[in-house]
Amino acid sequence: MARVLLFGRLSDVAGWREREIESPFLSALRTRLAADDPGLGEALARPGVQVALDQVIVRGDAALNARTEVAFLPPMSGG
């Protein structure tokens, strides 16, 4: 049960901000999110969208455990 967080325009696209989703890998989580909501899948695949696992930016795939916090971060706008 990874804890998935969406920020900025991503949560507007999805209609939610935070969800518990079971997935063993980040890649599998992306596939699952895109299957459930193609619009969100497309938004997550856009250039500039970063992923943080437990508040650390990661690139590529990664294993998730039951308590991993997965945050999808669109390009940061500054304050």
């Binding site: 325009r9 971060l73 706008s77 304050g79």
Partner: protein
């Protein structure tokens, strides 16, 4: 110190506190960013942060500024949530022995905060809401410091 707050704040009260008891510092520079009404075209600004992550990312840049400009101290407070016209959005204070360092560090921190800091910004205007990306000008501002670093 880096803090985010959902509540309105008074930059003056923060400056008073920041200056207290500084007998060896000499120079304190501050910047206060206020939400502009733009003659009614922007009613409310909404800023989203990723609690914990946003403070930590800003803290890394502040630690860099602390070393680079030999600061005695720094303080950053950033509003998040919904912000009305004329309300302070951000307050940055820097303390150093000499004023050039205090000014430059404050300028550097603001350039970072306005262009790359981990916030997502939405403007609620009369024609609805829109997400805002950094302006080309903001990118140019922060790029100045990269140039100086490599030269």
């Amino acid at each position: 110190m880096i803090r985010l707050t959902f509540d309105p704040f008074d930059p003056g009260a923060l400056l008073t506190e920041f200056c207290r008891g500084r007998t060896e510092v000499g120079a304190v520079a501050t910047f206060t960013g206020l939400a502009r009404a733009d003659a009614g075209s922007t009613a409310v600004l909404e800023l989203e942060a990723y609690p914990g992550f946003s403070e930590a990312e800003i803290g890394k840049i502040a630690a860099e500024a602390q070393v680079r400009f030999k600061l005695a101290d720094h303080f950053i407070l950033h509003r998040i949530g919904r912000i009305g016209p004329g309300e302070p959005i951000v307050f940055v204070a820097t303390a150093a022995r000499h004023r050039r360092a205090a000014f430059e560090a404050c300028d550097f921190l603001m350039d970072y905060l306005k262009s790359r800091a981990p916030f997502w910004k939405k403007e609620h205007g009369p024609d609805g809401a829109r997400w805002v990306e950094p302006r080309a000008e903001d990118h140019a501002d922060i790029a100045r410091w990269d140039k100086e670093r490599s030269s």
